[in-house]
């Protein structure tokens, strides 16, 4: 009997030893790119170093091309389209811009106009069409009222035979509210073409993950909008995006008041009530637009806007530090601050 136990133990020892040898950690290939006016981090877990390098270079080239094609104020294809709209003429649009205009129109409709890529004039009036941001003063109230009265909307646009025309010359396309999401979707598509199954693409703090970090999910920290650290974390795997719109990203201060870059299309002024909104979704272009729309909606109506846009996982932190979450978001969010902030779970 004791001989049998000894033999079993030897087998167990061999199995343990082999399993320990098998736990070789996959190499993380981490690359940072300064592209699209932001810092893009591409983290690839699997594949050899050469595959990761080739895929990352292709991502960088694609993002640089998108930056040129879709830039809202540096002279290029999109500014030429906007010039044609302003002068009441039609302009040729390629398949990519046609797709973005169609997606933008649909997302804008779902959000009840809170996400509106047609308000480029308003964003420019506030001075956010510059690489280094505006420094104030805020624009004249009469100029804001005059732009709002012209009511630029995506529904003013029509595309026939590859040509775009607008019923409203006040429409100016600005894809800033969802171009980053589209860029991240494109980056992930390229990584997949290179048979990379486990990766994160983080562009200026917004990200999409595929696969896992080896035996565990990817761990994502969500920045505290009012502090230096992380307020909460979520574990993500498979194929998920985490996007946050915050009032701390781009702003200027004038005479002691802070003016951030998320403009409410209804008032023409920076949206009030929210400090940050985090959205989880399977498509980055949707998550990006929804984070902006929910931020504009504010603490009273964000949950209805989330439902209308098909988002069931979202968190809003208001300007007083109160946290509002959908039930699905609350279930998977872990707070990293002690004590956790006051939380209100809202059923959309």
């Amino acid at each position: 009997m004791s001989g049998l136990t000894a033999r079993r133990s030897w087998w167990l020892a061999v199995v343990l030893l082999l399993s320990a040898c098998g736990q070789k950690e996959a190499q993380l290939h981490d690359t940072q790119l300064l592209v699209m006016g932001t810092l893009v981090n591409v983290s690839i877990l699997d594949g050899d170093e050469d595959v990761a390098a080739v895929a990352t270079t292709e991502v960088e080239q694609r993002l640089r091309q998108m930056h040129r094609d879709l830039h809202a104020w540096q002279p290029g294809p999109l500014t030429r389209v906007n010039e044609a709209i302003a002068s009441g003429e039609s302009a040729p649009v390629d398949t990519e811009k046609t797709m973005l205009i169609e997606r933008g129109t649909e997302l804008s409709r779902q959000s009840g106009g809170l996400f509106n890529p047609a308000i480029g004039n308003l964003i420019a009036l506030w001075g956010f069409h510059s690489d280094d941001g505006p420094h104030g003063p805020p624009p004249d109230a009469a100029a804001i009222r005059s732009l709002l009265a012209q009511a630029p909307s995506m529904t003013d646009l029509h595309i026939d035979d590859g040509r775009l025309r607008s019923d409203n010359p006040a429409v100016q396309l600005d894809f800033g509210g969802f171009a980053k999401g589209y860029a991240i979707d494109e980056a992930i598509r390229i990584l997949r073409e290179h048979h990379i199954d486990n990766a994160i693409v983080n562009a200026g703090g917004d990200l999409r993950v595929i696969g896992r970090h080896g035996a565990r999910p990817w761990r994502i920290g969500i920045r505290d909008p009012r502090g230096p650290g992380v307020i909460a974390s979520v574990e993500v795997s498979g194929d998920e995006c985490v996007f946050t719109s915050g009032d701390y990203e781009r702003y200027f201060e004038y005479q002691g008041r802070r003016y951030h870059h998320i403009i409410d299309p209804r008032s023409g002024y920076p949206a009030v009530g929210s400090s940050s909104v985090t959205v989880l979704s399977h498509e980055a272009i949707v998550a990006d637009a929804a984070a902006t729309a929910l931020f504009v909606a504010g603490p009273d109506t964000w949950a209805q806007t989330a439902k209308a846009m098909g988002i069931d996982q979202a968190m809003l932190i208001d300007d007083k530090g109160n946290v509002y979450m959908t039930p699905a978001m609350a279930k998977r969010t872990h707070f990293e601050v002690d004590p956790p902030p006051p939380i209100k779970v809202v059923v959309p």
């Binding site: 136990t5 343990l16 703090g205 969500i222």
Partner: protein
């Protein structure tokens, strides 16, 4: 006293550890120690070094356990980076927005800040990253 079905001597023999048992126990301890250091010792994920990349692609690797201040040249001018008590931050920058300075101290592995106008980035490196990516 209850009569035992198995003679006491035979039970004692079965309980005596064999060389295999001892090996299994030792390997289990080694495996546990390995798992602990792999999954838990990084909680908090303090960084050990920082990687500073400047506009010309030059990479500086600096230890965070030595307090120092360094000047990195970019297209707009000089950015000043401070390392103090295991943390790193931008303290001076020729850019207008100063968002790099607003980013404040960085200490956990994986965290980063960048001055986009002056094209300089700082990433904190460390073996154990508490988070794989930061959303903001």
């Amino acid at each position: 006293m209850t009569q035992s079905a198995i003679p006491l001597k035979s039970i004692a023999g079965a309980l005596r550890p064999t060389p295999g048992d001892i090996l299994v126990a030792l390997l289990t301890l080694v495996l546990l120690a390995g798992l602990y250091s792999h999954y838990w010792s990084g909680i908090g994920g303090e960084g050990e070094r920082a990687r500073i990349v400047s506009a010309d692609g030059e990479v500086h690797l600096v230890a965070l356990n030595e307090d120092r201040t360094l000047t990195v040249h970019g297209p707009l001018g000089d950015s000043v980076i401070e390392i103090h008590q295991g943390r790193v931050r931008f303290v001076e920058s020729p850019c207008q927005g100063k968002q790099c300075i607003h980013a404040g101290w960085l200490h956990s592995a994986g965290s980063f800040a960048a001055c986009l106008p002056n094209r300089i980035s700082i990433t904190v490196l460390g073996k154990n990253r508490h988070f794989d990516s930061i959303n903001y």
